[in-house]
């Protein structure tokens, strides 16, 4: 057999590879130590010594797992600026400021719009439909009170069909402020804090005014036989706007949980919208000043309430379960 360069290379490789491998792993640990020392330099000077000791002690625990030690040190290195920010005097919490700004903005915009609507017609409901209007407003306020009175953990499902019927039946100018006032009264009676009551009022005016606008636009553009679809469009707009206003608030309060929330809640949001749409056939009956038909408006959402909280509690609040884990 002729001894060539390939054979030489194979023998040298077989001898050197284990040594190189061992060295490579040793290098991982050495590199991890260097990374930690670099990471410490990213901290405020007053805290460097303490974190240097702390991290080196924890690195030593990974001594026999050199690759893991390197990966861990890389993470620490990447997170060091964040540790530094936590140790320095933090500026005012950006998220909290944004959240407060958002709550103030929605409250001001919604209540401002509500005031404007009141000034342009508003609650001056007279004539045949007055009794139904007052019954609906009263029921809407009681529906907001229900969670406080019953103390059953059914969320704040408050029969949005009543509010939607107010806007559809008596127009945006009367319906949106009336429903907002009803919800604010309900929350006030439930001893909610002022910022919550104002936000809810503003939120209601905005989403109901939006739904009312969509209803009017759809009704004008649809032929007579399809006008019921305008109610469906208003229901979708109401759910979507209400959902959007709440999701933005939740995203500002829990920025790291919003993706999970959106994934898990779409089923319930969809059901809510279907329940609102299912009230469409009953709305014209109520509008004909037949208050006796008002309970029919409650049926779809009552069925949803039963479905979610009695028959299928798993639909109720997935993120709450996640938070308990």
């Amino acid at each position: 057999m002729r001894w060539g360069w390939q054979e030489t290379l194979a023998v040298a490789g077989a001898l050197l590879l284990p040594l190189l491998q061992q060295d490579a792993f040793e290098w991982c640990y050495w590199l991890a130590e260097r990374l930690l020392r670099r990471a410490v330099r990213r901290l405020p000077p007053a805290h460097r010594r303490r974190y240097s000791e702390e991290w080196l002690a924890e690195l030593a625990e990974l001594r026999d797992r050199n690759l893991s030690a390197l990966l861990w040190a890389l993470w620490v290195f990447a997170c060091a600026p964040s540790v530094g920010r936590g140790l320095r005097e933090e500026p005012a919490d950006r998220w909290r400021l944004l959240c407060n700004g958002y709550v103030t903005g929605v409250s001001a915009a919604g209540l401002g719009l509500g005031g404007w609507l009141l000034a342009h017609g508003g609650l001056a409901v007279t004539g045949q439909g007055r009794r139904s209007f007052l019954v609906l407003v009263g029921l809407a306020a009681v529906a907001q009170l229900r969670p406080y009175l019953t103390r059953v953990n059914t969320g704040s499902l408050s029969f949005g069909s009543l509010d939607l019927a107010l806007v559809i039946g008596w127009g945006m100018a009367a319906g949106a402020p009336a429903a907002a006032l009803a919800t604010m009264l309900g929350h006030l009676a439930g001893r909610r804090s002022a910022d919550r009551v104002l936000f809810n009022g503003g939120q209601y005016v905005l989403c109901l005014a939006g739904a009312g606008w969509v209803f009017e636009a759809a009704r004008e553009s649809l032929p007579g036989s399809l006008r019921t679809l305008a109610i469906v469009a208003a229901a979708v707009a109401f759910t979507a706007l209400n959902s959007l206003l709440m999701r933005v608030l939740f995203a500002l309060q829990h920025p790291d949980a919003i993706a999970q929330q959106l994934r898990t809640d779409w089923t319930v949001e969809g059901l809510m919208c279907v329940a609102l749409i299912a009230t469409a056939p009953f709305v014209p009956l109520v509008l004909q000043s037949r208050a006796v038909f008002i309970p029919l408006l409650l049926l779809p959402e009552a069925a949803l309430l039963l479905l979610v909280f009695r028959l299928c509690p798993a639909l109720g609040s997935p993120p709450a379960r996640a938070a308990r884990r």
Partner: protein
């Protein structure tokens, strides 16, 4: 002292610390138990410590006798444990009703 920013990860750390409020926890051990990527536990602990929710101290050992460096141990302070319970309880209660029509009042912190 300002309250720490309450992210989901922070709440998970608090939940683990609350499981054994008198126990001594060090960073590496905590990140394993919380299930966070190693390293990302330290910013959370730094914020909690700065807000006085968590206190830390050095392990009292003789490095020469034990052959290892002393660890930095973390535990909840009395006020921190109380705040942590309140925050976790509030989260569980506030997240559940948020999807209801008109239910945003429940979400506000």
């Amino acid at each position: 002292m300002p309250s720490p920013r309450m992210t989901l990860q922070t709440q998970r750390v608090l939940a683990v610390l609350l499981e054994d409020p008198l126990g001594q926890h060090y960073g590496l051990d905590l990140s394993r138990r919380v299930g966070l990527p190693t390293g990302s536990i330290y910013p959370i602990l730094a914020r909690l410590e700065r807000a006085d929710w968590v206190s830390s101290r050095w392990e009292e050992i003789d490095p020469n006798a034990t052959g290892r460096r002393p660890r930095r141990y973390y535990r909840l302070t009395g006020a921190g444990a109380e705040q942590a319970r309140r925050v976790l309880d509030q989260t569980v209660r506030s997240i559940s009703p948020r999807w209801g029509i008109g239910g945003t009042g429940e979400v506000l912190a």
